[in-house]
Amino acid sequence: MTETALSLRGVSKFYGSGERRVLALRDASVEIATGELLGIIGPSGSGKTTFLMLAGLVEPPTQGEIWFLGRKVADPRTRSGELRKLRGRHIGFVFQKANLLPFLTAAENVQVASAAVGRGGSDARRRACELLEELGLAHRLDAYPQTLSGGEQQRVALARAIANRPTLLLADEPTAALDSDRRGQVMGLLSGLARDEGVTVCVVTHDVRAISFFDKIVEISDGEIAGTPAPPPASRDGEPLSHRPSE
């Protein structure tokens, strides 16, 4: 039986108060199983990023509860700071922009994820080098971000996201800034993480060509979950996206 990694139960998020209160996400309930590759789709401003923020334990919900690995970890009374440790140890993030620290080399950018949660030292360095080698960046370990191409930067960001062996990996438009070859490569890597490593991966995307990779899709519209359409059958075959027919 598949375990539930993350469960959002009746979760809502509002910003501001009174007349200026803005709804970002209303009454969302989603269960994501361990090792599942979840796609979140929807138009701009629909609440996808808010969903990611709640799922990534970046902020507590205004209403509802968030359960992680069978334990309630956030409700409206939870303070943001309380979630940080859990986030550092169990959750990885990949963004549309790589968001690498400009003053650190590629290896150090990966290593900093471990150092940030108190796991620095030679083991962290070794792990960073191994990950970058696996991602084909063995020759770029000591390169600074501004000397890396967009695809290389995104792979460094991915290595940083998985440096602490996360249970949950959240990706916000990770392929938006990449060409079709690189898009396929990154989606393949995310898919491999879910399939081979058992990492729960949650990807926000606009890219309709990516949905064939997902096990489950959540569609968000106007701050509400509009449905969970079934993904096309040919998901997770590892075939590069660029070779797939457009949907």
Binding site: T49, L52, M53, G56, V58, E59, S80, G81, R84, K85, L86, R87, G88, R89, I91, G92, F93, F95, N99, L101, P102, F103, L104, E108, Q111, V112, A113, A115, A116, V117, G118, G120, A124, Y144, R160, N164, D172
Partner: protein, 384 residues
């Protein structure tokens, strides 16, 4: 992983510029502090450096530095008769215009009560102490006179037999040490018109004796006391004479510092305070600006789970590295350049240490302020 070092390594030019700016302002602060110390030191060279345990000055006056004082040139003989007094020397010092080389300058002449005092209380850089009661002088190096040089002062020629260092008057001018009779001769140089006027005003005396009688007094008598001498009894006895007041060494120093130097000291101390306040503001602003540039990186670190301590340590380390390197350079520059100033600028170890501690506190404060700003950044900013 020390993020601060990596940050510095990457933005080295900016760090160097920040260090240069901070070093400059810190050196200025140390110099202003040193100027204050130098003025106090120079003002006390005569008052505290002539081996006086006490001074006998004109009755009711606070002389000879803080006030006028003229006493009889025979007062030293009276003083030597006092119980507990080991030695009494006559004191006379005045400024006098002297021409040497191609220029004319005012020099401070200090009379040594030869043969009791040959100048051997001060260390010599070259030459010897006085051996003759006439026409020999010891000069401070800052006068520009060299050993063996001969110059005319008043109506006589004097030869430099010794050179000393750091012997200056309250204005910072180098001292010339001559015997008391020579100093009195120099002081009594007067044009013939002055002698004629003195003759006319004193019909019962010869012109020479009248002029001499009016011009020969000394300023004070310097007392060296026996160990354990009864200071209060000596003061009481001196007071009973009526024409003289006794001032101890500590009182004399206090008179100079609290009297003549009071306003100047306050002025410089205010500037010292101002400089340190400006330094503190610049240190704070520099660190704060650096932190503002890092808000995006801080937001990312928070998102990936970095603790407040991890982020704070980065900022604190950056501030302390910046502060300590700037401080070290400022002290090194101060030590290397303060001797080149025309007047004494003294860097006391205690002042340097205090400035360092103050900088540490300022850096810590600036970092705390910046850290508060950094920690107020929310992780979600990176997703927005």
């Amino acid at each position: 992983m020390i993020l601060a070092w990596k940050d510095i390594r990457f933005n080295f030019a900016r760090f160097v510029l920040a260090v240069v700016g901070l070093t400059a302002i810190l050196t200025m602060s140390l110099a202003m502090n040193g100027l204050y110390r130098g003025i106090v030191h120079e003002s006390l060279v005569m008052a505290a450096g002539v081996g006086a345990d006490a001074w006998l000055v004109q009755g009711g006056r606070d002389g000879p530095f803080n006030d006028e004082s003229h006493v009889s040139s025979l007062l030293d003989r009276r003083a030597e008769g006092l119980f507990g007094v080991k030695e009494a020397r006559r004191f006379l010092s005045f400024s006098f215009p002297v021409s040497f080389g191609s220029h004319k300058q005012r020099l401070s002449i200090f009379a040594l009560d030869f043969p009791k005092d040959k100048g051997d209380r001060m260390p010599l850089a070259a030459g010897r102490y006085l051996e003759s009661p006439h026409f020999e002088m010891i000069v401070d190096k800052s006068t520009g006179l060299a050993l063996g040089e001969r110059i005319r002062i008043g109506r006589d020629d004097y030869t430099v037999v010794g050179v000393t260092r750091g012997q200056v008057d309250m204005a910072g001018d180098g001292l010339i040490f001559v015997s008391l009779p020579d100093a009195q001769s120099i002081l009594n140089v007067a044009p013939s018109e002055a002698i004629l006027l003195a003759r006319a005003s004193s019909r019962n005396q010869t012109a020479a004796s009248a002029f001499a009688a009016g011009s020969r007094p000394i300023m004070a008598v310097i007392l060296t006391l026996e160990p354990g001498a009864p200071v209060d009894l000596i003061r009481e006895k001196v007071a009973s004479w009526g024409d003289v007041t006794m001032i101890t060494r500590a009182e004399q120093i206090d008179l100079v510092i609290q009297g003549r130097l009071r306003r100047l000291r306050l002025q410089i101390l205010l500037f010292v305070g101002l400089m340190y306040a400006i330094s503190g503001a610049i240190v704070s602003l520099t660190i704060f600006t650096i932190v503002l540039e890092k808000l995006h990186a801080i937001s990312l670190l928070k998102l990936i789970g970095a603790s407040d301590a991890f982020i704070s340590l980065w900022i604190l380390q950056y501030g302390l590295i910046l502060g300590s390197i700037s401080y070290g350079l400022a002290v090194a520059i101060s030590l290397a350049t303060f001797d080149l100033f025309p007047r004494a600028v003294i860097l006391e170890p205690s002042d340097a240490l205090l400035a360092g501690l103050a900088l540490l506190v300022v850096c810590a404060f600036a970092c705390t302020f910046s850290i508060r700003k950094a920690l107020s950044v929310r992780a979600r900013e990176i997703l927005s």
